[in-house]
């Protein structure tokens, strides 16, 4: 809840606009209990905007700055975004699911526009003129006729005005955008290229110790006994044991490593499933019941179809492997816990800390400095809790930075899955039946964008042998892989061109538009692949965006085919920052390439066998094919997020191209041709 006095004490006087969580009744003057964001203009003209969203490289800080600059007609440099600090920013459920753009952008546009209108009123009142005669630009309100102007700061000075956003305030239509819609450079890029920006793992506190956790011998292992005497005898070392948790804090990282190595632990392990039995295991260990989404009669349609197809697809567990591993610095002061950590859910981590230490909300603060990425992998507060436990025991701030091996082993993975598809197609190429069951990997991206009269689509949860969680686009990568591979197989069975077949089966204009755009840029149907080469296409929709991907591969004896080129068309409504969007699309394609061709977590006996970059290959410079992106700017549609959708097309497009080049159909991710090294 907002306290007016505290708010202005913290920020100085000025104007403040709040975005209420619930739409407030028109006449209500009281401040809302719950807000989503706020915007403040101080007497120096500085504009501060606060949102619980966080920046992990996806460009939210820049794009949100742009839309505020646009509506407020203020210089970008005058705007500061305060993000991801649970004491300063409004509650937020987490930066995930591509929700920042569709949810936060419209709100901040309205907040900035409300502020702009307020400033106009203040200037009109100050000069005793009609507000229609005034113009706002460059952080000033001007009265061109009288030849005078006043900066925002001057107008805000001496005021303490609070207002709730006006939902009906006029917004600048995207066709008239001057700052939004342009390729503004990342706002804090200079601090990055100079090494000045402090990521969570770079935070230091006075007197800080370094923490290290004793990791169990295997997943699910119980700590039977611990002899900590040798570690405790080391100078300045503090050992903490609490149930199966054992960890040390020491004055230097080296001392912490020595101390943790000196802990003598006995673990009780239980048998754990191995990778070789994974897919069987998932099907044998269903949990709960699938809740299918059905239309028509799949059985009847399958029976009547001219061609039927039934195939199974699998996807491996893969790791997010953000380059900055999990890290946290925790500090206790008079019973209040402050933690700096890299997380997509600062408020979620605050809740985890409140629960772990039985603290009320106002005794925990979580700060999230712009972080070395997440890709859906940094939702949980493990490192934060570890650092806080150690800091409490040691009576000093403690930093915990996971090693790469810890990151690969003790974080969570993109779920593995088995997907079964049965389908039927008529002689004329119309798909009539579609049965699709995803075991374990998740329900995102299950729904089809093809017009199929009879379908049954289901997600069947299962017990996962490994800890699994959110990933860029969640299960949409797996579901698109299975669906778009299967569609390709159907096209082949129906003797139709893969693009023509898709277009024949969808009327969705946005879906068709990306397919046509990608195909046109690629030259689909216009050129023939060279001998040994193959073309593949795949398309999808997810989180309000539409994507189509075309790939050319060249077969290589004894190796996986080489990716010759990638063309991807993407549409996510009105584009806020074309440069950032292109960056996100390219990045998603390249990340998707890893999952398509070589990423897979290997595990046995409750341990990860390839928990290092030397054993878990991620895309590198030499893997990068020429990439062309086609961005369709739909100024008439609301902007959608772009961190996820562009990843879903690449894997099936590669698989389909491999089939075209070699005649071998691959139905497992990663795609590995038999006999390739």
């Amino acid at each position: 809840m907002i306290d007016r006095r505290q708010f202005f004490q913290a920020l100085g006087g000025g104007l403040a606009i709040f975005i209420a969580r619930e739409e407030a009744p028109a006449q209500q003057q009281a401040l809302p209990q719950e807000i989503d964001a706020w915007l403040h203009i101080g007497k120096d003209g500085a504009i501060t905007v606060s949102t619980g969203k966080v920046e992990m490289g996806q460009g939210a800080r820049t794009e949100l700055t742009q839309v505020v600059a646009e509506e407020l007609r203020a210089p970008v440099a005058s705007i500061t975004m305060v993000m991801g600090d649970t004491d300063l920013t409004p509650f937020d459920g987490g930066t995930a699911g591509s929700q920042t753009t569709p949810r936060m952008v419209p709100q901040l546009r309205k907040a900035a526009a409300t502020a702009r209108e307020m400033l106009l009123d203040l200037a009109a009142e100050k000069w005793g003129v009609d507000r229609a005669a005034l113009v706002v630009s460059g952080g000033k309100v001007a009265d061109p006729k009288a030849g005078r102007s006043a900066g925002f700061g001057e107008l805000a000075e001496g005021r303490k005005l609070l207002k709730i956003i006006d939902a009906s305030v006029p917004l600048t239509p995207p066709e008239q955008w001057k700052v939004a819609g342009t390729p503004l450079a990342k706002v804090n890029a200079r601090n990055i290229v100079t090494g000045r920006h402090r990521y969570p793992s770079d935070i230091t506190r006075p007197g800080m110790l370094h923490g290290k956790v004793l990791r169990p011998a295997a997943f699910g292992a119980l700590l039977v006994s611990l002899d900590a005497s040798a570690a405790e005898a080391m100078e300045g070392v503090k050992v903490v044991r609490d149930g199966d948790f054992a960890a040390v804090a020491a004055p230097t990282p080296q001392a912490a490593e020595r101390a943790v190595a000196a802990l003598k632990a006995e673990w009780k392990t239980t048998p754990q499933p191995n990778r070789a039995e994974l897919f069987d295991y998932l099907k044998k260990n269903m949990q709960g019941r699938a809740n299918p989404n059905e239309r028509g009669s799949v059985e009847k349609a399958l029976a009547e179809a001219d061609t039927r197809l039934r195939e199974t697809y699998t996807v491996a567990y893969i790791a997010h492997a953000p380059l900055e591993p999990r890290a946290a610095v925790a500090e206790w002061n008079d019973g209040k816990l402050t933690v700096w950590t890299g997380t997509q859910r600062p408020f979620g981590v605050r809740n985890e800390l409140m629960a772990a230490f039985s603290l009320p909300q106002d005794r925990v603060r979580v700060l999230m400095p712009d972080t070395g990425s997440g890709y859906g992998g940094k939702h949980m507060g493990d490192a934060a809790i570890e650092a806080a436990r150690l800091a409490r025991a040691a009576g000093k701030p403690v930093k915990v930075v996971w090693t790469r091996q810890e990151e690969f082993s003790w974080a969570y993975f993109r779920p593995a899955g088995v997907i079964e598809v049965a389908s039927g197609v008529r002689k004329d190429g119309i798909i009539t039946a579609w049965e699709f069951t995803n075991y374990n990997s998740g329900g995102a991206g299950l729904q089809i964008a093809y017009d199929i009269p009879n379908y049954r689509i289901a997600f069947q949860p299962a017990r996962s042998p490994l800890r699994q969680g959110s990933y860029r686009a969640l299960a949409a990568t797996a579901n698109h892989f299975a669906r778009e591979t299967h569609i390709d197989e159907l096209a082949h069975a129906a003797g139709m061109d893969a693009l023509e077949f898709r277009l024949k089966n969808t009327q969705d204009p946005r879906f068709r538009a990306v397919l046509e755009a990608a195909a046109a840029r690629f030259g689909w149907g216009k050129t023939k692949p060279a001998p040994g080469h193959g073309f593949g296409i795949a398309a999808g929709w997810e989180k309000g965006g539409y994507v189509a991907t075309c790939v050319e591969v060249a077969a290589r004896p004894g190796a996986n085919p080489k990716i010759e080129r990638v063309v991807e068309a993407f549409e996510c409504g009105a584009i806020i920052n074309p440069d950032n969007l292109k960056n996100q699309i390219e990045g998603a394609i390249l990340m998707g390439l890893g999952g398509a061709l070589f990423e897979a977590i290997d595990f046995a006996d409750g341990r990860i066998l390839n928990a290092r970059f030397s054993r878990y290959r991620v895309p590198r410079f030499s893997d990068v094919p020429p990439i062309e992106t086609v961005m369709l700017d739909r100024k008439d549609l609301p902007s959608a997020g772009a961190g996820e959708c562009p990843i879903v097309g690449i894997a099936p497009a590669i698989g389909n191209a491999i089939f075209a080049a070699t005649g071998t159909r691959l139905r497992s991710l990663p795609l590995v041709l038999k006999g390739s090294a």
Binding site: R190, S201, L323, F621
Partner: protein
């Protein structure tokens, strides 16, 4: 016990007490608070920790502190001169060659060394030179473009 070492860091002689087995990366980050150099893997696989030792790029996560005694170390913080960025830093800004930026310091430091040994690298040479670096965000095409841009700018500046 900790061992006293003298090394020159970004032009300034520093004396540090390095613990046995400690790596240059930890000396820079934990003792000198030069946190621009990053940890990404600790096994020489990702390049995030790259610094120059006597002008040569090294992986500071696997370089023992005592091995750099008496030597000169340049980190990302040492590339800016009198408030002026190195042309490659400028080029990274110009090309928008980052997302989260966590790999950026290592890429720039390696790129600076690459441009010193080859003032006009082509795309293949740039990719080869940077192959040991991971950008998990996948900004590789922009990083290649940034090195090309810097190479051009540096050659033009020389001809002025």
């Amino acid at each position: 016990m900790a061992m006293k070492l003298e090394l020159q860091v970004n032009g300034i002689w520093r004396s540090v007490a390095a613990e046995p087995g400690s790596m240059l990366l930890s000396v820079l980050r934990d003792q000198l608070d030069l946190t621009g150099t990053k940890y990404g893997c600790g096994e020489g696989q990702c390049g995030a920790c790259t610094v120059l030792v006597d002008g040569q790029p090294v992986r500071s996560c696997i370089t023992r502190a005592e091995a750099v005694a008496g030597k000169s170390v340049t980190t990302i913080e040492g590339l800016e001169r009198d408030g002026r960025l190195h042309p490659l830093q400028e080029a990274f800004l110009g090309a928008g060659a980052m997302q989260c930026g966590y790999c950026t310091a290592g890429m720039i430091v390696e790129g600076v060394a690459l441009l010193r040994s080859n003032s006009d690298p082509n795309e293949t040479q740039i990719k080869q030179g940077l192959e040991g670096h991971i950008c998990r965000c996948g900004t590789y095409p922009r990083i290649v473009a940034a090195v090309r841009m810097a190479s051009l700018a540096m050659r033009e500046a020389r001809h002025d």
